[in-house]
């Protein structure tokens, strides 16, 4: 008998917060119906405090939402199996726009968007255009070129590294262009690359960086793997003249680091803002918002003191060429 009571009490403890949560959101939905406040939700497989990709995307959403008067909500640290169900619950809660920050969400977005024709989906790094899906596509090639050119100019050992999270189309493009650009500014460069197979396994990033340094004496690295990159930076921080190039936010502008020399900045906020305006105007869908150097969606971040004036001038000249499309044909 005692056990049954205990089981009942435990069940109550588990169920009550759930009920309270449902109640709270229920009332919210009815109040917003009268005066329409648009709502955007973001899902993320890494976390918004990863100091890299997730953080940048979250900040972009918050900044864009502030400009356009959207309410924001997010769920982070979810696994691939939960992408679709997480988006479904936001759609059910009456969110107007769902922001999926990466190519890896493509299939889940397509699946959910088909079932919720009234909800709009913005897919970062996507290549899908339907009635309610719009893609936001920062030019991965230009990002790769920008990072590669700086890495090629900065390296002293002629050996540079690249860490990928998953083998996504955009990651592959970044790697290919990173290599091409580094070779263009410094023909003697060799590029080492490795994939962590994860965006959250920080320890793996540490091991990859350590192995690249011990095998090939890599001294400049660039990563496309969120929290994994911060592990790599920890290793690089143990050396005096080994550096990392950040992305997609301007890392040196938000926190101090001896390792990061510069960032390739993607201004997702502007692009996401355009999507929000479309949602409000009812013209959402069937298009891709492109972002590159010429429309200001990509830019060069803050330089650290490790970058000499000479390198800086050469690099900025290279960036101008990338912008004009004359850097690599």
């Amino acid at each position: 008998m005692k056990k049954k009571w205990m089981a009942l009490v435990l069940t109550m403890i588990m169920v009550i917060p759930g009920l309270v949560a449902c109640g709270a959101t229920g009332t919210k939905a009815t109040t917003t119906a009268s005066a329409k406040t648009y709502k955007i939700a973001m899902i993320c497989d890494s976390t918004i405090s990863d100091g890299g990709w997730g953080a940048a995307c979250y900040n972009a959403m918050v900044a864009a939402a502030k400009d356009n008067g959207f309410e924001t909500q997010y769920t982070d640290g979810i696994s691939s199996a939960d992408f679709a169900s997480s988006m479904r619950s936001y759609a059910d809660l009456g969110f107007d726009l769902i922001f999926a920050p990466g190519n890896q969400y493509t299939d889940a977005v397509k699946e959910v968007a088909a079932d919720y024709p009234d909800v709009d989906f913005a897919l970062l790094n996507g290549t899908v255009e339907t009635k309610n899906i719009a893609s936001i596509l920062p030019d991965a090639k230009q990002i790769g070129y920008m990072a590669g050119a700086l890495a090629g100019l900065m390296t002293k050992t002629n050996s540079i590294g690249f860490i990928g999270g998953m083998e996504l189309d955009t990651t592959k493009a970044k790697l290919a262009c990173y290599e091409a650009a580094a070779k263009a500014v410094n023909p003697a460069v060799t590029v080492n690359s490795a994939y962590a197979g994860s965006f959250s396994d920080t320890a793996k990033g540490k091991e990859i960086a350590a192995s690249m340094i011990s095998i090939n004496d890599v001294d400049v690295m660039f990563g496309d793997a969120s929290a994994v990159d911060s592990g790599a930076r920890e290793v690089l921080a143990g050396y005096k003249d080994k550096y990392d190039i950040g992305q997609p936010s301007d890392l040196l502008a938000i926190q101090k680091s001896d390792v990061v020399i510069c960032s390739v900045v993607t201004d997702n906020a502007t692009m996401l803002g355009l999507c929000m305006k479309d949602v409000m105007a009812g013209t959402f869908g069937n298009k891709t918002v492109y972002g590159d150097l010429s429309n200001g969606a990509l830019s060069v971040g803050t330089f650290s003191s490790a970058v000499s004036e000479d390198v800086k001038t050469q690099y900025l000249a290279a960036v101008e060429k990338i912008k004009a499309g004359t850097f690599i044909k």
Partner: protein, 313 residues
């Protein structure tokens, strides 16, 4: 090819193996204690995640990684007590509660992190435990840096292996402990308090799993992010089966995982053209191969996974 033959390469490879094997070893030993008392605990990943957060927070607040490890152990025990109460006292299905821990604990960890740091997008890092080289021994070429230049937790993990062996095979307490996992009815009839032994096993399991998680955020990497455990708990779980429920076997299994993982990362760096998925499979292929080759001649504890009811016939 010449890069592979290099002494420096081998030393780095072995060093990386030891680093990567340590969290798996600690957590696999945690599971070993639990299973030896007849409890399959698949909630290792969850306890690690919670231990990782507790360790990180404590270390961040006090600047003392040792307190972080201690906090990790305590929190691991607390989380595992939920599992212990439900499976031992209430006799619930162990797999279900293990899974519940895996869902509940990481979510709680992430919740606490967000409450403490707010919605914050800068990466917070803390002090790492510094390595304590063992005098003289760490000067031995190749082997010295690989084995004797680590943080104390690493030494503790490896010392636990012979300790566990002696405990289970040479001491009365250890044999009693094993009896609980083999045939609890008989053990009870001989005056062993089965319930108390099972709770003891849960405390050891929770404590070690919490230390394994805290090791990640206080000795290995100085940051915490959700998903930092990355399935290491499940690898530890398989290391116990792979090591046939023996401490020596568990050590070998953990080292094999560490070695193959370190090797595959290096092979990726050496041959940038190879599809990485192929290389990332190596640790798992090795497991399959070894299991198929040696077979499972000796199964685990006989009463493993079964609830124990004192009055039941």
């Amino acid at each position: 090819m010449e890069a592979i033959m290099n002494v420096n390469f081998i030393q780095e490879l072995l060093l990386s193996m030891v680093r990567m094997a340590t969290p798996i070893l600690i957590v696999a030993l945690a599971e070993l204690y639990s299973e030896r008392a007849g409890m399959v605990n698949i909630g290792l990943d969850g306890m690690m995640a919670f231990g990782a957060l507790a360790g990180f927070l404590t270390c961040y607040i006090t600047n003392n990684p040792y307190l972080g490890i201690l906090a990790g152990a305590i929190c691991g025990i607390l989380v595992n007590m939920v599992y212990a109460f439900c499976t031992i006292t209430l006799g619930a299905e162990q797999i279900v509660y293990g899974m519940a821990i895996n869902i509940f604990a990481p979510a709680l960890a992430s919740f606490i992190y967000k409450i403490y740091f707010g919605i914050n997008s800068t990466l917070i890092s803390n002090t790492l435990m510094s390595a304590v080289p063992i005098p003289f021994l760490s000067k031995i070429p190749v082997l010295g840096p690989v084995l004797f230049n680590h943080s104390p937790i690493v030494y503790l993990a490896y010392l636990l292996v012979p300790f566990t062996y002696v405990f289970f095979n040479k001491t009365k307490a250890g044999l009693n402990f094993k009896a609980v996992g083999e045939f609890p009815k008989a053990a009870e009839s001989l005056g062993i308090n089965v319930i108390r032994k099972k709770y003891l096993a849960s405390i050891i399991c929770g404590g070690l799993a919490g230390i394994g998680g805290a090791y990640l955020t206080t000795c290995y990497i100085g940051t915490y992010s959700d998903g930092v455990v990355s399935g290491r708990g499940f690898i530890a779980l398989s290391a116990v089966i792979f090591g046939r429920w023996m401490p020596g076997g568990v050590l070998l299994a953990a080292l094999l995982f560490g070695f193959t993982d370190a090797l595959q990362l290096r092979m990726q760096v050496l041959n940038s053209g190879t599809p990485y998925q192929l290389l990332a499979m190596i640790p798992y292929l090795c497991t399959l191969f070894v299991l198929a080759f040696f077979g499972i001649k000796k199964a685990g504890p006989k009463a493993n996974g079964r609830p124990f009811f004192k009055e039941e016939r």
